[in-house]
């Protein structure tokens, strides 16, 4: 097996594993009983799912700039999802959001 094919297999495995975590996050979103619990599934499973997806794509990235772009995308999504989850949880808990009724 040449290094190129090995890389391709590794990259495919990472992307498939990432897709699995996205599925798990969605299953959690549908199965978990309340709003706050659902946020757990979305933030954590999707973070790992996207991380693995990005890792898989990094192995095939055509250049340093493209690799940096992928990492940056992951970081931005990470910060946005963690912060978004906190804001949703806070509103839900305080019960003063727009959908408080």
């Amino acid at each position: 097996m040449t290094p190129a094919t090995l890389l391709l297999w590794l990259s495919t495995a990472c992307i498939l594993a990432g897709a699995f975590f996205f599925v798990a996050g969605t299953v959690g979103l549908m199965r978990l009983p309340d709003r706050l619990s659902r946020l757990h599934a979305l933030t954590k499973a999707d973070n790992v799912g996207l991380g693995l997806l990005i890792l898989g794509l990094l192995l095939e990235a055509p250049g340093v700039l493209n690799g940096l772009k992928l990492v940056l995308v992951w970081l931005f999504v990470l910060v946005a999802s963690a912060t978004g989850a906190h804001l949703i949880a806070k509103r839900a808990l305080r019960g003063d959001g727009e959908d408080a009724h």
Binding site: F21, A24, G25, V27, G28, R31, L32, P33, D34, L36, S37, L39, H40, A41, T43, K44, A45, N47, V48, G49, G51, L65, L68, K69, L72, V73, L78, V79, A82, T83, A85, H86, A89, K90, A92, L93, R94
Partner: protein
């Protein structure tokens, strides 16, 4: 006068940083700056408006230790939640848990809130004063949760070079109140 000087440096640093981020995202096509330049200026403005004076930034060496820890823990967090929801009978006992923060640095607190949400089983739900409300997928063992959060708090304290006060035990609420009053006074001045 020192304040306006440091602000100028801060503006320049942010402009540079956001311009680099734009370059990485949009590539080297000069036409992209039609959107990029206003976006970079808007991001700089927002960043300056939102940043707090008492923020402080993480130490580089401590960050090198923190990043692998964070990656490993977030992988565990993803596996944990996947394991819980994929079983035929879900293993959850969701509940609310409160924790008194010892970290005082504003930036460190933001990092703690965001990191805690990505760690196994915990979601930072609210922060009022020093009291952090955590939602846990398995809130049965409060002592374990306290220990986990305290450990993360310690790590983030190290990251920002902040020494934490001795842990305040649940059995001694008066002491905790005294501490928070002192912190509130410090924050006011």
């Amino acid at each position: 006068m020192t304040r306006s000087k440091s602000t100028f440096g801060a503006i320049l640093l942010r402009l540079l940083l956001f311009a680099c981020a734009w370059l990485v995202i949009a590539g080297t096509d000069p036409g992209s700056w039609i959107i990029g330049a206003p976006a970079v200026i808007a991001a700089t403005w927002a960043s300056l408006r939102l940043s707090r004076r008492d923020g402080g930034s993480p130490r580089l060496l401590a960050a090198l230790v923190f990043v692998p820890f964070f990656l490993w823990q977030s992988l565990k967090g993803g596996l944990d939640v996947t394991w819980r929801v994929m079983r035929p009978r879900m293993r959850i006992a969701p509940g609310i848990h409160t924790y008194r923060l010892r970290l005082t640095n504003a930036s460190a607190r933001v990092v703690l809130l965001d990191t805690l949400s990505l760690l196994p089983g915990t979601l930072s739900a609210d922060l009022r004063g020093d009291v952090l409300t955590v939602h846990a997928l398995d809130a049965a063992d409060g002592a374990q949760l306290d220990a986990d959060i305290a450990q993360l708090e310690q790590r983030i304290g190290t990251l920002f070079g902040e020494r934490l006060a001795a842990p305040t035990s649940e059995a001694d609420p008066e002491r905790a109140d005294v501490l928070s009053c002192r912190d509130a006074k410090v924050a006011q001045t």
